[in-house]
């Protein structure tokens, strides 16, 4: 086809036309797209994930943990969920990676190299809870569209980086600044280079918190590619989509950021509660900010059979978005009675908290469920039933439970 073009046009002018098509061709064809590593059909090897992790989607990659895999106090990479809206960037050139700060409310636009960011600002390390806004979506009725997360789209890793507020102070932001929006290097599923996959962010007060980081490291090592290498915004306690991966630009906005997945039903819930299945107009949807109080029993794995008289040790984590968990309880009788257990203080703000206790009062042989319920510092508890229905199935913080048999 090309040769025919060449012969029919046959002039030097046609060369440039051909060259023009070549460039477009090169951008859309997945020619440069398939680095060998990303072609690996085995996601567990590709992303170094535990083989018990559940692959919900392989294009884009979405992988979740199971409750018992999250038993570590600090989530290792192998058990950290992957949530992608688009395609993982290819050919990340860390030596030429830079961060542009721009937007209506920046004093003067500025570009930092990655090396500058690392050397110019003091570095901090925090354990930060990241939970996907749609964690638990699979339970909603009527069903909500999207990846059907069960309980495993949550993690608490140790993140190292610089404070976003230090960078913003260095750049200088205007008084009318309302929001920061991130832009990143991932590729839209349609491969249209004009389209951004996801461009979300946080309001200025959240951006200025001590724990809001521009992170380079996860658990003491370079952030794995699937989790945002080489630079990730981390806003713990909020839907993890606010913590943009592969960030190369931050826009200081004088209005609520209006990037991809900030509008419509994306990461938004009805401002006022609605009946299950009800249609909600766009203007009646509000952006999710802090995630709700929640907990997981990470030991034992559901399905444990114990002997009568044997006591059962349980343990797990609880978190409460921007707040702290102040009370932890469990029930072995479907919520008829609850027993309190100790909940540890968080290592730092926005880190999940740990609980452990021994249950030795199973009254007789039979089938039981151990239910866990956390209460946050303003007295709000997890519901046993599904919380308020919303079109995209966000914020399911219903109590976690495991099945136990006393034999």
């Amino acid at each position: 086809m090309k040769r025919r073009n060449f012969i029919t046009k046959g002039t030097l002018g046609a060369f440039s036309a051909l060259l023009g098509t070549e460039i477009v061709f090169g951008q859309t064809i997945p020619l440069g797209y398939r680095p060998l590593a990303l072609q690996d059909p085995d996601p567990f090897k590709l992303f170094q994930k535990g083989s018990d992790m559940t692959v919900l989607n392989n294009k884009p990659w979405n992988i979740e943990a199971k409750a018992h895999l999250l038993d570590d106090k600090i989530t290792p990479n192998k058990f950290m969920f992957i949530r992608n809206n688009g395609l993982i960037p290819e050919n990340v050139d860390v030596n030429n990676w830079s961060l542009i700060i721009d937007g209506e409310s920046v004093q003067k636009s500025k570009t930092y190299t990655l090396a500058e960011l690392k050397s110019k600002f003091r570095q901090y390390t925090y354990q930060l809870t990241l939970e996907c806004g749609g964690n638990g979506r699979s339970e909603f009725n009527p069903p909500a569209k999207g990846n059907q997360w069960t309980i495993g789209a949550v993690s608490c890793a140790s993140w190292t980086g610089i404070r976003l507020k230090d960078v913003l102070e260095d750049v200088g932001i205007k008084e009318d600044a309302v929001y920061i929006g991130y832009h990143a290097a991932d590729v839209h599923l349609s491969r249209n280079p004009e389209k951004e996959t996801i461009s979300r962010g946080v309001p200025i007060p959240k951006a200025l918190q001590d724990e809001t980081l521009l992170a380079f490291q996860m658990n003491g090592k370079d952030i794995p590619l699937a989790h945002g290498y080489p630079l990730r915004l981390i806003a713990g306690g909020w839907p993890a989509s606010a913590s943009g991966k592969w960030v190369n630009r931050l826009s200081i906005r004088n209005k609520v950021h209006d990037g991809a997945k900030m509008m419509g039903t994306s990461y938004r819930v009805p401002c006022e509660p609605v009946a299950p299945g009800e249609k909600v107009a766009d203007e009646d949807m509000c952006i999710i900010e802090s995630m709700p109080v929640k907990s997981l029993i990470t030991y034992p794995k559901s399905g444990a059979m114990i002997k009568q008289g044997q006591s059962l040790t349980i343990r797990g984590h609880a978190w409460a978005g921007e707040l702290e968990v102040s009370k932890m309880e469990y029930s072995i009788d479907f919520g008829a009675t609850w027993t309190s257990c100790t909940i540890k203080k968080p290592t730092n703000r926005l880190a999940w908290q740990h609980f452990t206790t021994k249950i030795s009062n199973f009254p007789k042989k039979g089938y039981y469920e151990v239910w866990a319920r956390a209460t946050d510092s303003v007295g709000t508890s997890q519901p046993m039933l599904l919380p308020g229905w919303n079109p995209k199935g966000y914020l399911n913080n219903a109590c976690h439970r495991i099945a136990i048999k006393v034999v």
Binding site: M1, K2, F6, L12, F15, L18, L19, E22, F25, G26, T28, I29, P30, L31, V55, L56, N57, N58, K59, P60, E139, F140, N141, P142, P143, K145, G146, N147, Q148, H188, L189, S190, N192, K195, G264, P300, K301, S302, G303, A304, M305, I306, K307, Q310, S311, L312, E369, M384, L385, L386, A398, R401, A403, K405
Partner: protein
């Protein structure tokens, strides 16, 4: 006379040879410029149709499931594979449950925001396939725990 003819013939032969030589040089130069401007023509290139690669619709059906994609085998399977697995994996379809209305709304959303094309007269087939095979099931307010793998937990 004959020697004059011979000479003329030789000149003509030489002239023809020169023209051929010039043409060859011309073609070579032209070809060289083309290669310089299009260095990739010798590189291995995927077929042009990989841009909108037509996924493999053939393949094994086992227990009513199309093995390669996990889709239920039913009328419309081919259309669904061809239109729904270019941008995203079949898993994004098979893990969802929607009514006819819900599937149509999802298609519209993808057309408005995700570059999905007009499905034309295949839309009805696709929507029927999806709303028949991937329809919502009533789950109530909290489901019973299922697929519990029982194991002995030592003290």
């Amino acid at each position: 006379m004959s020697s004059e003819n011979e000479f003329k013939q030789q000149v003509r032969k030489l002239y023809n040879k020169l023209i051929v030589a010039f043409c060859m040089i011309g073609i070579a130069v032209f070809g060289f410029i083309y290669i310089v401007l299009n260095p990739s023509i010798f590189a291995e290139k995927p077929e042009e149709n990989t841009l909108i690669s037509v996924p493999n619709v053939d393949g094994e059906i086992k227990d009513g499931i199309h093995v390669a994609t996990g889709f239920i085998d039913d009328e419309g399977l081919t259309e669904v594979i061809q239109n729904c697995t270019n941008c995203h994996s079949s898993k994004l379809v098979t893990q969802n449950r929607m009514t006819k209305e819900g599937w149509i709304a999802t298609i519209r959303w993808m057309q408005e925001t995700q570059n999905l094309w007009d499905l034309g007269n295949q839309e009805e087939t696709i929507v029927n396939y999806l709303s028949t095979n991937y329809a919502p099931q009533k789950k109530g307010r909290r489901e019973v725990l299922t697929n519990v793998e029982w194991y002995v937990l030592e003290d």
